[in-house]
Amino acid sequence: MSEISAEQVAHLANLARIALTEEEIEHLTAELGQIMQAVEKVSEVATPDVPPTSHPIPMHNVFRDDVVGDNVLSPEQALSGAPESDGSRFVVSAILGEEQ
């Protein structure tokens, strides 16, 4: 199960939106194989009768009234760290490429 190919790593990088170089893909392919081999150990004890735990402290859903809270940023504050904005909106490049 831990056999990971360079094609798989390239696919994962695409899903994760990281433009890895060929060299990085090669390096990561070897490393991921080793790491996955080590972490596969979990399957030794993860038998069907054991329930999964997603959260350390048991809690119920936490709700609040649907009203404006006390931690609202102004548009200026929200845009203050953006690489590009037009004063009231974040500016991004084209969503669709030419072929789309």
Binding site: I18, T53, A78, G81, A82, S93
Partner: protein, 510 residues
């Protein structure tokens, strides 16, 4: 070296309250120390001396006007760069956030400001808290004040080193798998990971949301307790924040008494895999506690050996989701490929340029563990191991009050030694990870120096969830016993860094 910087936070707080010294004087003394030694230590990514002195002057004015101030009012503090700070750059050690000025304060930062403490600046860390050595910081590693060639631990090596080198009396850290406790172990300082949900995560740049917890980094157990009392408590901005009130941790230290306390030694973490000097100091500390009336018993936690494997599935899975927010749209870096590109291509180019190798490794690992066809085998199995680790804790705490382990397998290793071997690096956290998986609190306090290399060794105590006060009780008691044995704090035996002033100045770092 000014005497002011060698005071504990509690002592400094008392001197400030008595009017013996001003916050401006105390803050200036620490800024001078930073200027003198941080070129060599590199604990800080950002120092805001001007604003710190303004804050200090304001506290001095309020004190003079007769305002009622808390025990730590006027005391300087260093803040791990994982916590967002209004008007102070917050990078989490990553290039992708270089220069980002957050528009708000994280809740623990707001609380230390409201307590009248004086933020000095932001401390270095492994990028997005991924690491055990600070070598994964995009801004270069922090150096261990005990030996500048060695790691200060990680991910919070900057906070631990700042405290160990007397640049700050205390600091804030974050602990996802040991990032507060392991740096404490290798720098001869105190570090506490509170119960999951005790301290708000609002404004903490998330690594793995079900594991992250903010906590104190200090030189004494009382200082950790005082800071814990400031930052703990319910916060409506964090839905995992525990709503119930907490008892005073400082009171637990002041009333420390281990007579009749049942301490369980985890058999699986007391093995040949640990350095001889680490085990020796661990057992000596237990003997001291036993002589004071504690009962030492061996307990078994058979699933702890699966904890690292589960952790390195759960953490990357959660991190790969959390780090999706770094998309070049709302904050941080944007890199546009040559000739332009779609928003997706810009995003991919930005993340390629902005993330370091360890972050990329874990994002790809997490993406893999969560992908269709592998989810049950990897992430699902890891969540089951999490249940088994919790059951081990439950079984142990049915017969003992606290657990004890060495904090980490070895003393500080050399910078670079494990950088090319991720699996070897991951093993540093073997003793600290189980607490994060189960949400239980842990403390590391200095247990001495390993005879073979003269480097600090920590001892870790773990308590059931919500029983953080037990850690302060046993930690406070052991600290007193060890201080009596040593004749003074362990950091008195650390090298004097003042000889590095010249070097740092010559390099233009000051």
């Amino acid at each position: 070296m000014s005497d002011l910087i060698r005071l504990s936070a509690a002592e400094l707080g008392e001197r400030l309250a008595s009017g013996d010294v001003s916050s401006v004087e105390a803050t200036q003394a620490h800024l001078d120390r930073i200027a003198a030694v941080d070129g060599a230590v590199h604990a800080f990514l950002h120092v805001d001396g001007e604003r710190a002195l303004e804050t200090a002057a304001d506290i001095d004015r309020r004190r003079a006007a007769g305002d009622r101030l808390g025990a730590l009012a006027g005391v300087p503090i260093a803040i791990k760069d994982v916590l967002v700070t209004e008007g102070m750059p917050s990078t989490a050690g990553s290039r992708i956030l270089q220069g980002w000025l957050p528009p708000y304060d994280a809740t623990p930062v707001r609380l230390v400001r409201e307590a009248g403490m004086v933020p000095l600046g932001k401390t270095n860390m492994d990028e997005f808290a991924m690491g055990s050595s600070t070598e994964h910081s995009a801004y270069g590693p922090t150096h261990n004040p005990w030996d500048l060639e060695r790691i200060p631990g990680g991910s919070g090596g900057g906070s631990a080193a700042s405290v160990a080198s007397f640049e700050a009396p205390l600091a804030l850290g974050s602990d996802t798998g040991g990032s507060i406790r392991q740096p404490a172990h290798v720098t001869g300082t105190v570090g506490v990971k509170p119960t999951y949900g005790a301290v708000s995560r609002y404004g903490s740049i998330a690594l793995a949301s079900s594991l992250d917890q903010i906590g104190p980094v200090t030189r004494t157990v009382l200082d950790a307790a005082l800071l814990h009392d400031v930052i703990a408590g319910h916060d409506p901005h964090d839905s995992t924040s525990i709503p119930e009130p907490w008892p005073s941790m400082a009171d637990a230290v002041r009333r420390a008494d281990v007579a009749g306390l049942r301490i369980g030694v985890v058999k699986q973490l007391d093995s040949d895999g640990f350095q001889a000097g680490v085990r020796q100091r661990f057992h000596e500390a237990l003997e001291l506690l036993e002589r004071q009336g504690a009962e030492i018993v061996e307990v078994s936690a058979p699933h702890f050996e699966y904890a690292i494997a589960a952790y390195y599935l759960i953490l990357p899975a959660e991190a790969s989701s959390n780090l999706a927010k770094f998309d070049s749209v709302r904050f941080g870096l944007r890199v546009t490929p040559d000739g332009g590109g779609t928003v997706e291509q810009v995003m991919a180019a930005t993340r390629e340029a902005g993330f370091g190798p360890e972050v990329k490794r874990r994002i790809i690992l997490g993406t893999y563990a969560l992908s269709a066809g592998y989810y049950d085998a990897y992430y699902g199995s890891a969540q089951k191991v999490r249940t088994l680790v919790q059951r081990d804790f439950d079984a142990a705490f049915a017969s003992v009050d606290v657990l004890a382990t060495p904090t980490a397998p070895t003393t500080a290793f050399k910078l670079g030694e494990k950088l090319d071997d991720p699996l070897a690096m991951y093993l540093n956290d073997v003793a600290t990870i189980p607490a994060n998986l189960a949400g239980v609190p842990g403390i590391s306090i200095p247990a001495g120096l390993a005879p073979e290399d003269g480097l600090p060794v920590g001892i870790q105590f773990l308590a059931p969830a919500r029983e953080d006060a037990r850690l302060y009780n046993v930690g406070g008691a052991l600290e007193q016993l060890l201080l009596a044995e040593w004749g003074g704090p362990i950091l008195d035996r650390a090298p004097d860094l003042s000889t590095h002033e010249l070097l740092a100045t010559e390099e233009g770092a000051v």
